[in-house]
């Protein structure tokens, strides 16, 4: 973050960080609301009803309410199950997007409106996100394969075996790293 955002410019009386690499929370809140609205726009497909979940998503990003965050995520999941055609490649984006939304809402829900988050903390959150996605994305791909080629037993078995092997390799690698 540039020095202009380091808060020392205005004498507001608040304590402000005095170093680069601090991201203001309003940027994270804006990104969270934007991500929720984008996912909602995909599943609501141009319907005027998108205004309601969009408002909810923005409210969940601004207000410290776990209820609003839960309703927003549930609306997205239910809308995906109802409106999205089976086998849509949007599944991969939704698996990542819903996960990111959950993490961001959980991060913001206990913070006051004003503040900062360090880049290294964001990187830590990103690494943790990637660790989950590295297993969730192959599962999503397997689900798409199951949906498309449900009658082909060979493809299904190969996919399941590949995902299980991938998961086992990840777990064993993690254990090795810990030792």
């Amino acid at each position: 973050m540039s020095r202009a955002t380091r808060g020392g410019t205005a004498r507001s009386g608040r304590a402000v960080p005095d170093r680069p690499g601090m991201v203001p929370l309003w940027l994270v809140r804006g990104a969270t609301a934007l991500l929720a609205v984008l996912l909602g726009a995909v599943v609501w497909n141009g319907s005027a009803w998108i205004v309601l979940p969009a408002l909810l998503a923005v409210g969940a990003a601004l207000l410290p309410s776990i209820g609003l965050a839960s309703v927003t995520l549930l609306l997205l999941i239910v809308a995906y199950a109802v409106n999205m055609p089976a086998g849509s490649p949007w599944l991969l984006a939704f698996v990542a997007g819903l996960h990111a939304l959950l993490v961001l809402y959980l991060l913001l829900v206990r913070l006051p409106l004003h503040g900062w988050i360090s880049r290294s903390a964001l990187v830590r959150i990103g690494v943790s996100f990637a660790r989950v996605q590295i297993l969730a994305q192959p599962l999503a791909v397997l689900a798409l394969i199951l949906g498309d080629a449900g009658s082909s037993l060979v493809v299904v078995v190969a996919g399941v075996v590949a995902v299980i092997g991938w998961a086992l390799w990840l777990v064993s690698r993690r254990r090795t790293e810990r030792r």
Binding site: L98, L111, S120, A121
Partner: protein, 508 residues
């Protein structure tokens, strides 16, 4: 400047080891909804939406059953003396210390250092976050999310002078996947002590009754000073080194008389500074009625501290003795002494002054004989005026320093306006009464400006005379010094004195 600032850290009030967060429950619920929706509709892709939630829930369940990270030793509560009931995980603990610079400019911000504990040293993984909540006085709280062990410098407002709590803070820890967190732990506020800065050194009025045998002032006693008192014939007992051969050659034509030069003795002045700490009036009148946390704005007490530090530095720079007392009678008076260490003691004592209601005292403060007494007060009640008149009647050179800051009228109700008008009217009557009785009262200057140089202030449009209204400190002291020198013919400085000279070290 900050004194060795104190940052009281770590008194744990509510702390608990890391537990599963509400997010873990939310992840479980969302995962179940996805699975049920997928099974009902027969769509594996909807079931796949549950994958990240299920993995997060599994991670939270695993860490929730894992042994807790080592906890910090319980901290003894500084108020009750009892150990805190629960200890916070040491990887989540945060300390705030004042990082300087010590010589900050007036009105500048203090630099603090936010220091979360090192998670690796505490036996936890570095894959953790620490959320610190900060609140400056009169401001809503702010959040700062840091990686565990990551330092962060802060800029915070400090008081213009004196001691004040400048930052309340607390912390909570969490894992990077936010499935596990610790309870919020509140720490004690960060408290700093800012020493008042001496301004430009004003003139130094002194009493006629000077004491001591060393100093920069000329007394009326014969002695070993540098100023010539008389030239007289040599008498038995006169030291030979006083013989003035030129005067002998000039006055004794037949060389039958030897002339010796007599000198005045040097002496030091004694100054007694009295602070009225019963009130601290902010410059905004609406703040007089506010029950909220006080802003870190300059008030009458800051003006009193700055003016007293300036006067003390001025006298101590020429070797005079300066003492300090307060009208509230809560602490023992600082005895008059000279030297740079005395200046530091006075500044430290001034920084420690805070609003204390005046209490009944058995006897009035007694200034040393022959001292100049300066009372720094906003003159809201008659006590300061009474003591000024008393000390003046006892023969001291006295002056009042009006420390009311330039007011910004921000009252919001008619009752507040009426109250402020009454207070100001009473103050005006007190000050007019003092001036009518011959006690000079000077204004203490603006809170953020140094005390103006006396010569420049006098040369302006101000009325020449101690009874003129609204004389500033520098001009008033200059006029008072001229007045005392004219009346007594003594106490004048021995010659040109460098006002920027540093006081002699430990010359008590």
């Amino acid at each position: 400047m900050t004194s060795p600032a104190r940052s009281r850290r770590g008194g744990t009030h509510s702390a608990a080891p890391a537990t599963r967060s509400a997010g873990w429950a939310l992840a479980v619920i969302l995962g179940l909804v996805c699975v049920v929706a997928g099974l009902v509709s027969g769509r594996p892709d909807t079931v796949a939406l549950a994958a990240p939630f299920a993995l997060l829930a599994a991670a939270g369940r695993r860490s929730g059953t894992a042994p807790a990270a080592p906890a910090a030793a319980p901290v003894t509560d500084p108020v009750t003396g009892s150990a805190a009931a629960a200890a916070t995980p040491s990887w989540a603990a945060v300390a705030v210390r004042v990082a300087g610079p010590r010589d900050r400019p007036a009105g500048g911000r203090l630099r603090l250092q936010l220091q979360p504990a090192d998670p690796l040293r505490a036996g936890a993984s570095s894959d953790r976050l620490v959320t610190v909540l900060l609140a400056s006085p009169g401001c809503p709280p702010d959040a700062m999310v840091l990686r565990a062990g990551e330092d962060c410098p802060l800029l915070a407002d400090g008081p213009p002078s004196g001691e004040a709590d400048i930052l309340a803070y607390g912390w909570a820890g969490s894992t990077a996947d936010l499935m596990e967190d610790t309870a919020f732990t509140a720490a004690e506020s960060v408290r700093v002590s800012i020493l008042p800065r001496p301004g430009a050194l004003p003139a130094r009025p002194v009493s006629r009754r000077l004491r001591g045998l060393a100093g920069t002032h000329r007394s009326r006693r014969p002695g070993e000073g540098s100023d010539v008192r008389s030239i007289a014939p040599l008498r038995p007992g006169d030291p030979l080194r006083r013989i003035d051969w030129r005067a002998t050659a000039r006055r004794s034509s037949d060389q039958d008389r030897i002339m010796v030069r007599g000198r005045f003795a040097d002496a030091e002045a004694s100054v007694f500074l009295v602070i009225d700490q019963a009130h601290d009036l902010p410059d905004r009148t609406a703040d007089w009625f506010s029950a909220a946390a006080a802003r870190l704005a300059p008030g009458s007490l800051h003006l009193a501290r700055s003016a007293a530090a300036t006067v003390a530095a001025s006298y101590l720079s020429v070797g005079d003795r300066v003492g300090l007392d307060d009208l509230s009678g809560t602490r023992r008076a600082l005895r008059a002494a000279a030297g740079s260490r005395q200046l530091e003691q006075i500044r430290a004592r001034l920084a420690g002054t805070e609003v204390i209601p005046r209490r009944r005292r058995r006897r009035d403060p007694a200034p040393p004989q022959g001292s100049v007494v300066l009372v720094f007060s906003p003159f809201l009640d008659a006590e300061a005026a009474r003591l000024l008149l008393l000390w003046r009647a006892q023969g001291h050179v006295v002056a009042g320093i009006d420390c009311m800051p330039p007011l910004v009228r921000t009252e919001t109700t008619a009752a507040q306006t009426a109250s402020v008008r009454l207070v100001l009217l009473r103050r005006r009557l007190l000050l007019d009464g003092l001036r009518r009785d011959g006690v000079p009262v000077f204004t203490g200057g603006s809170p953020d400006a140094d005390v103006v140089d006396g010569d420049r202030a006098v040369s302006g449009d101000r009325p020449a005379g101690l009874s003129g209204p609204e004389l500033e400190l520098g001009a008033g002291l200059l006029l008072l010094s001229r007045e005392t020198a004219r009346r007594g013919g003594a106490g004048a400085p021995r010659g040109p004195v460098d006002p920027t000279a540093t006081p002699p070290r430990d010359g008590r």
